[in-house]
């Protein structure tokens, strides 16, 4: 096991820059998730750690070695690919044994390790099968088995669950997490699914257009997103954004479109009249007589909660209630965001204004 340090790493394909200076520190044994929209450079960053892609500038360390110029085999990393990349002409056992066979390990040694990995993943009955005789979930497990057998310094996963159906995805999610708790191998996991990121990560790295937007623990990102992008990306349903102005005459409030007023707790930055964006998560609305008026457009009960799509000050917002209110489209309700849990962002830069 080892820590991984990424310092000011840049990458360009030909003349096109794709990664614009990324810094990430990954502690020994940590489970770090790289998350971001499609095309933001997550896979590229992961492949640079693996050594499949060379870096244009900057430095990547694994443990205390700078690995910039080391070929993949000397980096001691194992990677699980999105399409699993199982060798179709080898049995499950041979797939898992391949790396050790290349290293010239002893037959008995290989067998014990393959056996152990197969036990961990419940692959025992399938060892003599070929990949095409396995289900998607089993293939996924073989791909992980191939990584486990190596006992590498770092595990790299590139969207390993995206080819599975929704139910299996949830199951494998917890299996991977459990596996990590058991083996405690440093792991870098790429996904574009923020739920996967939230549920699995010790630490999330949110990327956007080749830059890191924020790094932090899942709840940290949820509670204190550093900018509009992170605020909108983390959380489901997504945070509501209402454009408007900061008002400091009298009590500190936020004035949205159509003159609606929303409560704010202490915001140290920003003078009266500053253009800002008010962010509130759907689950942080309450019904209150002094709330802002909203007109209900659509009601979606999910069983555990109801989601309400409404118009508030001219903007579409979503509110989520655990109570079973009997709303109908067209109803007028008064919504009050919890000021302690409200977020305020600068309208121009998108940076967070409140603490």
């Amino acid at each position: 096991m080892a820590s991984v340090a990424i310092r000011d790493v840049r990458k360009a394909f030909g003349a096109t820059p794709v990664i614009h200076g990324v810094d990430v520190g990954i502690g020994d044994g940590e489970f770090v998730v790289l998350v971001g929209p499609s095309g933001c450079g997550k896979s590229t960053l992961l492949r640079m750690i693996a050594g499949l892609e060379n870096i244009t500038s900057g430095e990547i360390r694994i443990g205390d070695r700078i690995v910039n110029d080391l070929p993949p085999k000397e980096r001691d990393v194992a990677m699980v690919f999105q399409n699993y990349a199982l060798y179709p002409h080898m049995t499950v056992a041979a797939n898992m044994a391949f790396s050790m066979k290349l290293r010239g390990a002893a037959r008995s040694d290989i067998d014990t390790r393959v056996k152990r990995a197969a036990d961990i993943l419940g692959l025992g009955p399938y060892l003599d099968r070929y990949p095409r005789q396995l289900s998607g979930g089993q293939r996924q497990r073989v791909a992980m088995g191939r990584a486990i057998v190596r006992d590498p310094q770092v595990f790299l996963f590139d969207e390993p669950l995206s080819n599975l159906d929704a139910k299996l995805r949830v199951q494998m999610r917890s299996e991977i997490k459990e596996l990590h708790q058991r083996l405690k191998t440093t792991t870098v996991y790429v996904t574009h699914d923020q739920i996967e990121a939230m549920t699995m990560a010790d630490k999330i790295v949110v990327m956007h257009d080749g830059r890191v937007e924020q790094i932090g623990a899942p709840l940290e990102l949820y509670d204190k997103p550093r900018n509009l992008f992170v605020a909108g990306f983390i959380g489901s349903p997504a945070m509501n954004f209402l454009p408007g102005k900061l008002r400091r005459n009298g009590a500190l409030t936020f004035e949205g479109a159509n003159g609606i007023r929303l409560p704010l707790d202490a915001v140290p930055l920003g003078s009266d009249g500053r253009a800002a964006v008010y962010g509130v998560r759907p689950e942080h609305f309450t019904l209150a007589d002094d709330g802002a008026e909203a007109e209900i457009q659509l009601v979606e009960p999910t069983g555990a909660e109801i989601q309400v799509l409404a118009k508030l000050g001219g903007a579409d917002i979503i509110a989520v209630f655990r109570e079973r209110h009997l709303f109908k489209p067209g109803d007028k309700i008064r919504l009050r965001p919890d000021p302690k849990l409200a977020h305020l962002f600068d309208a121009g830069t998108g940076e967070r204004l409140n603490i």
Partner: protein, 317 residues
């Protein structure tokens, strides 16, 4: 039951003629669809083949039908040293040319699969020998190998490596190597391009996975590329062997089997005896004698070709 018509109204079986049943029954319908292909195969493959084999048991000559003579033609061939020489030549020609075509073709395919500059142009260039009509390229080789005007001899002389022209097609072994060389030149593109197509079906992520697993370039070829390519190698080499074994045009233009039958292949000898010599029966016997060799080649590849275990089995996609 099968007597329900498409519009769903049941009719009694007796109410329909046999002809109608033939039109509707699935199995008969399958037969109808197969009939054109079967007729084609029988007419253009089975009939000539059968006729050839039949003629080989007769003493037919051009211009008169023959009488059945049993194995006489074969007994005659058994004691014919020229026939055995042609068998030897054909085997030498096929083995050496096919082996080299395979090696060179595979090498070229691997090379063209890399990220080379001008990849598209290079791939097109490789195909040239294949596109040129055989007779045309044979004539070109004829000039290359000419005893007086050969550019090869001329270049080597200018370089001071030889003092007199090489007699490419006049010397027994020179002639053999020359025609083998010409056959390789002509056959390599087919092998190379087919194998290249096979290479391109291998997912690049397998190479990446193997790289991370610690394989070097040779090990990647040995353990990933080559095994994944074996099915297509089996197909392409079967065809290559069959084409080479039955080659005729190249030899006929370059040497006509000479000098003193040194490059006489079974195909050219058969033509010479049957058409030029007029002994149809004997020529047919030589051709028929090629069949066991071809069958052997096909059988070998059949077993090599038999879809490997990793390719079949239950499909779970």
């Amino acid at each position: 039951m099968a007597d329900v018509t498409l519009n769903g109204t049941p009719t009694t079986p007796r109410a329909r003629s046999a002809w109608q049943r033939l039109k509707v029954n699935r199995n008969w319908l399958g037969l109808w669809f197969m009939l054109p292909a079967m007729a084609f195969l029988v007419l253009f493959l089975a009939y000539p083949l059968g006729l050839g084999v039949w003629i080989s048991f007769t003493d037919a000559r051009i211009g008169r039908g023959g009488a059945f003579v049993g194995l006489e033609n074969y007994e005659w061939l058994w004691d014919d040293s020229v026939f055995w020489l042609s068998v030897f030549n054909t085997l030498l020609y096929t083995t050496v040319a096919s082996a080299i075509k395979f090696a060179v073709g595979l090498y070229l395919a691997l090379l063209l699969n890399e990220n080379l500059p001008f990849k598209a142009i290079l791939r097109a260039v490789v195909l040239i020998p294949f596109i040129v009509p055989t007779v045309l390229s044979a004539i070109a080789f004829w000039w290359l190998f000419d005893s007086q005007f050969s550019i090869l001899s001329w270049s080597l002389r200018k370089l001071g490596l030889i003092s007199t022209n090489i007699d490419f097609l006049g010397d027994v072994w020179n002639a053999r190597w020359s025609v083998i060389f010409a056959n390789i030149w002509r056959g390599v593109p087919f092998v190379a391009v087919t194998l290249l197509a096979g290479l391109q079906t291998v997912s690049p992520s397998l190479y990446e996975a193997a790289t991370i697993d610690g394989a070097n370039r040779w090990q990647i070829f040995r353990y990933i590329t080559y095994p994944l390519l074996t099915p297509i190698i089996a197909v392409v080499m079967t065809f290559s062997v069959l084409f080479t074994f039955t080659d005729f045009q190249l030899i006929w233009v370059l040497t006509r089997g000479g000098p003193v039958n040194a490059t006489q292949l079974m195909a050219t000898l058969s033509y010479q005896r049957a058409i030029l010599g007029g002994h149809l029966g004997e020529g047919a016997a030589i051709s028929t004698a090629m069949i066991p060799f071809l069958l052997a080649a096909i059988l070998i590849s059949w077993f090599g070709l038999q879809r490997r275990k990793w390719q079949h089995g239950e499909n779970n996609d």
